[in-house]
Symmetry: C2
Subunit: 199 residues, 2 copies
């Protein structure tokens, strides 16, 4: 998505070899118009999939997921992160390890919000090693709902997450794909939605 | 806001004497159209205040805050909650005690996203004892930005939060105000935006 790539180039900060900070428009301060365009793009990609629910994980996945759900006219559900969660039958739960924070969180969704008939689009702000998306997939698979695809705002293509998801047979749609950082600058790989950008 | 009150009556669950569960449209699963209407309502109330930024706290404040910011055409910033946060000069931080969870969290906003010239509207999903809103106020006051008001989706009017905020001179705009629970049902007080509902 050209608009997103341009924004990453102008406002993203490359820190060290692996970190891209986009807290001025995505992960802390949020540009609502950009997120609306992101949501519209995911909706365009998955329009024919009869999506019934958009699922994400708190907190920075919520903004892009909300506008995607809005554009598809379906509810959005955000999974919750907690440490030492008291398990109960009403919750779908799984453990997710964060390489960044070196901590394990329990991620949960109330069972009542996912049914076997659902056709789900997962949306998240970042895809790196794929642990968050794989965790959401494990939750949804407990119910047997269909996972139609995984919409990612920014993918770090030099980490293994994308391949892990594709190996499991999932469609991954990343609107910006970072091939590498070169001398503090972002070098993009072709985004999955490149054909939808206006010429 | 009539639409919101009706939704609380139809889909909210009263648990015990003090808990209203609205996880089917606000705090876990999110109804995007209802949130859009909520955001539009806050924008209508604060239209003349020249708001420059909408500030909330993760995670369930994000949806109503996002649509409010969208309707006012300004950025949204969400404060982050962490335990044992490493303090640094770039962060505004304060401690917030949660009566529900009986835990203290450090809430933070990057200093670069709040300037003394900002005219801020705080938006949150719930107002009970007011600790979250008071925490956000402390963060914003560290910078000296103007706090134009506090927009609340659901207020528990039988708890002290509203009065604490009003005592400090803040305008509180609650779209649904719960006076009390009676035999498992919600009894509303008049909402602050009642005059804006169509007859």
């Amino acid at each position: 998505m050209k608009l997103l790539e341009e924004r990453i180039l102008s406002d993203g900060q490359v820190l060290g070899d692996e970190i891209l900070k986009v807290d001025s428009f995505l992960t802390h301060q949020v540009d609502t118009k950009l997120m609306q365009a992101v949501g519209q793009r995911f909706a365009d990609i998955y329009r024919t999939h009869n999506i019934t629910k958009v699922v994400t994980i708190e907190a920075s996945g919520i903004a892009p997921a909300l506008y995607t759900a809005d554009a598809l006219d379906v509810p959005m559900v955000f999974a919750k992160k907690a440490k030492n969660l008291t398990l109960n039958e009403e919750l779908l739960t799984t453990d997710v390890f964060s390489f960044t924070k070196q901590t394990t969180s329990t991620v949960s969704i109330s069972r009542k919000f996912i049914s076997p008939d659902d056709r789900i689009l997962i949306v998240d702000d970042f895809l790196a090693n794929g642990q968050a998306s794989l965790g959401l997939i494990r939750l949804i698979e407990q119910v047997g709902a269909s996972i139609e695809g995984i919409g990612i705002v920014i993918e770090k293509s030099f980490q293994e997450g994308r391949q892990s998801l594709i190996d499991k047979g999932f469609q991954v749609s990343s609107l910006a794909r970072i091939d590498r950082f070169e001398a503090g600058h972002v070098v993009f790989a072709e985004a999955d939605d490149a054909s939808l950008d206006k010429k």
